[in-house]
Point group: D5
Chain length 96, copies 10
C-alpha cells in the first residue's frame, strides 16, 4: 500500500560539521537500502527546500512508522503522512 510522505529537514545551526556529514551519509545509505527494496518507491527534492516528497510502498502503517523512525535524520525532520489509493481513472497497471 502507498503513502505520500513529505519530509522537511532542519539541522541545528550549531551542529558540528562532521556530525552533520555523518548523519547525512547514514541517511543516504539507509535511503538507498529502502529504495533498492522497493519500499521507498519515489523520492523528489522540492525546489528551494531542504525537503523531499516521497511515496512509500509498504505492507502496513506500522511498517511505514518503523521505517521512518529508523531514519538517522528522523529527530531533525518534520514529517507529514497521507494514505493514498489507486485513482479510479488511471490506465497504469502498477499506479496503485
Amino acid at each position: 500500500m502507498l503513502f505520500h510522505v513529505r519530509m522537511d529537514v532542519q539541522l541545528p545551526h550549531d551542529m558540528p560539521a562532521d556530525r552533520a556529514a555523518t548523519l547525512k551519509a547514514d541517511e543516504k545509505a539507509r535511503f538507498q537500502a529502502l529504495q533498492r527494496s522497493g519500499q521507498w518507491r519515489h523520492i523528489w527534492r522540492i525546489v528551494g527546500q531542504y525537503s523531499n516528497v516521497s511515496v512509500f510502498d509498504v505492507d502496513s502503517p506500522t511498517q511505514l512508522h518503523d521505517l521512518l523512525m529508523s531514519l538517522p535524520l528522523f529527530p531533525y525532520m518534520r514529517i507529514d503522512v497521507m494514505p493514498l489509493c489507486r485513482h479510479p481513472s488511471s490506465l497504469h497497471d502498477d499506479d496503485r
Copy 2:
C-alpha cells in the same frame, strides 16, 4: 521537468447530476489522454478526499499551466503546484 500538483475538487451542491456526470466524464477522458502522452506521469487518490496528488512531466511551466487550464474541472478545483527536481541520493535512472 517534474511538478508536484495537488487538486482538491469541490462541486457546488446544486449542480445538476447530469451536468456533474458530463464534467467528470470529460475530465476522465482528458486525464487519460494526458496520462497516455506521459505528461500526467503519476496520479493517486488521497484517502477520504475528493482530491488527488499528481506528478506532471512537462516541457515548461507554461505547458503545465495550459494543461491544467484545459481540465474540465478546473473551475471547481483548488490547485497547488510545487516544482520538483531529482533527489541527489536516488539510484533510479528515471526518477528525475
Copy 3:
C-alpha cells in the same frame, strides 16, 4: 490496520428538512452496518460540534477510501485521515 478519521458535517441551510432526514437515516444505517462488521471500530461525538472522531479497522487504505466514499453524507463532510499504529508501551493485546 487502524486509521483515525475526523468528520465535520455541514449541511446547506437551504436543504429541505425531509431530504436532510433521509440523508441522516441512510447515514445511520450505513454506519451501523460498518460498526457491526467491525470496520468502524470506534466513534465519538465531539462536544458542541456536528462532528465525530472515529477509528476504522480496515484491510487497506483503498478499503477505507471506498467505505468513506459510500457514506451518504460524504458530499457534505470535511474528512481528515491519519494512519495509526500500535503504541510500543501499550499493554493491551488488541489495542493495535
Copy 4:
C-alpha cells in the same frame, strides 16, 4: 467521561541521552499504571510522528488535568484536549 487527547513530544536536541532515557522510562511506567487503572483507555501512535492520539476515561476535567500534569514528559509536550460524548447512532454499550 471521555476526552480525546493528542500529545506531540519534542525533546530538546541537546538533552543528554541518559536524561532522555530516564524520562521515557518514567513516562512508560506512568502510562502503564494509568492504562491498567482504565483511565488511559486508548492510545495509538500517529504514523511518522513522535505523537500519540489517546482517549482518557476520567471522573472530571480536573482529574484529567492532574493526570496530564503528572506525566514526566509533560514539559516537552504540546497537548490538545477535546471533550467527547457518546455518538447517538452507536450500537456499542460501552462506546460512551
Copy 5:
C-alpha cells in the same frame, strides 16, 4: 464541571427578517432558562462581534453537548469548547 465555550453566530444574509427575529427570541428564552438553572454560568459579548464567550457548569460533557444542540441558533453557530478546571492559586471558594 466547567467548560469555556465561544460561539460565533452567522445568519445567512437572505434569511427573512421575521425568521431571524423568531430564532433570536427563541434563543434568548432558551438562554435565560439555562442561565436561571445555573448551567449557563457566565456569558459576555465580545466587542465588535456577533459572538459570545461563555462558561457552562454542567454534570458531564454529554450534558453540555445536549444543551448546545438544543440552542435554536445552533445550526448557524461555530462553537469552540475547552474544558476548564480550578486554578491552583485561586482564593475563591466557588471559582472552580
Copy 6:
C-alpha cells in the same frame, strides 16, 4: 470594564529550578493580590495546558496593560486580550 485574557506560559527548559520556583511564587502572590482587589475577577486553568483563561475588571485598557506588565511571568507568556461587554440577554445584575 471587563477583558477576556488568555495566558500561555512557556518557561525555557534550561531555567534553573530555583529560579522557576521563585518566579512562580512571585506570580502567585501578585495574582492573589489582584484577585483580592477584584481586578482579576475570574481565573481558570485550561485542561492539559500550562495556560489560563481569565476575566479582568479594570478601570481602563491602560490599567489592564500595567497589571499584565507587572506579572513576574510576563516575559514568558503569550497573552491574548479581548474586550468584553454585557450580553443583552443576561439576567444577572453583575454579569457585565
Copy 7:
C-alpha cells in the same frame, strides 16, 4: 480610551445596486456623525482592500460595541478589535 479596529467589508455579489448604494450612503452618514463627535478618531483605507483601519476614542468597551453594531454595513463586515494604550515613550500630549 482608544481601540484599534479593522473592518473588512464583503457585500454579496447578488445585492441589488440600489440596495448597496443606500447602505453605503447610510454608512457614510453614520461614519461622519461619529467622526464629528470625535469617537471615530482616525480612519484610513488599506490600499487595495475594501477595508479600513480605524482608531476609536470611546468611554467604554460597551460604547464601542454599540457604535459598531449601529453601523449599516455591520452585517457585511468582519471586525477585529484591539485595545490600545499610550506608549510610554511618546512625546505627544494627546497621543493616548
Copy 8:
C-alpha cells in the same frame, strides 16, 4: 515607487458566460492601458492558478489604490499588497 501585488480571481460559478466574457474583456483593456502607461510594470500568471503576481510603479499608495479599485474584476479578487524598495546589492540602474 514599486508595489508587489498578488491578485486571486474567483468568479461566481453562476455568473452568466457573457457577463464573464465582458468583464474579462474590460479587464484586459484596462490592464493594457495601465501596462502601456508603465504603471503596471510587470505581470506574471501563477502556474495552475487564476491568479497573477504583479509589480506596480506608481506615484503614491493612493494612486495604486485608485488603479486597483478601477479594475473591472476588483469585486471578484482577493488582493495582497506589499511595498517594495531597491535591493542594496542590485547592479541594475532601474531595478528600483
Copy 9:
C-alpha cells in the same frame, strides 16, 4: 504618504539586563527623534503585548525601510507593513 506598521518585540531571554537596557534607551531616543520630525506620526501600545501599532508619514517606501532598519531593536522585531490612503468619507483635512 502613510503606512501602518505593527512591531512585535521579542528579546532573547538570555540577553544581559544592561544590554537590554541600552537597546531600549537607544530605541527610545531614535523613536523620539522620528516622532519630533513627524515621520513617526502615531504610536500606540497594544494592551498586554510588547508590541506597538504605528502610523508613519514618509516620502517613499524606501525611506520607511531605511527608518525601520535604523531602529536599534530591528533585529528583535517582527514587523508588518500595510500601505494606507485617505478614506473617501473622511471629513478631516489632514487625515490622509
Copy 10:
C-alpha cells in the same frame, strides 16, 4: 523559464559579527554574479523585512534548486518558490 522566489533571512542572534559580515559579503558577490548572468532577473527588498522578492530566469527547476542551494545564506533562509508563466494579456515581448 521564470520562477517567483521569496526569501526571508533569519540570522541567529548569537552569530559573531564578523561571521555575519563574511556571509553577507559572500552572498552579495554570489547574487551579483547571478544578476550579471541574467539568471537572477529581478530582486526587490520587502519594506520593513530582512526579505526579498525575486524572479529567476533559469533553464530548469533543477538549475534553480542548484542556484538556491549555492547561496551562502541558504541555511538561514526560508524560501518559497512559485512557477510563473507569461500572462496572456501582456503586451511586452520579454515579459514572459
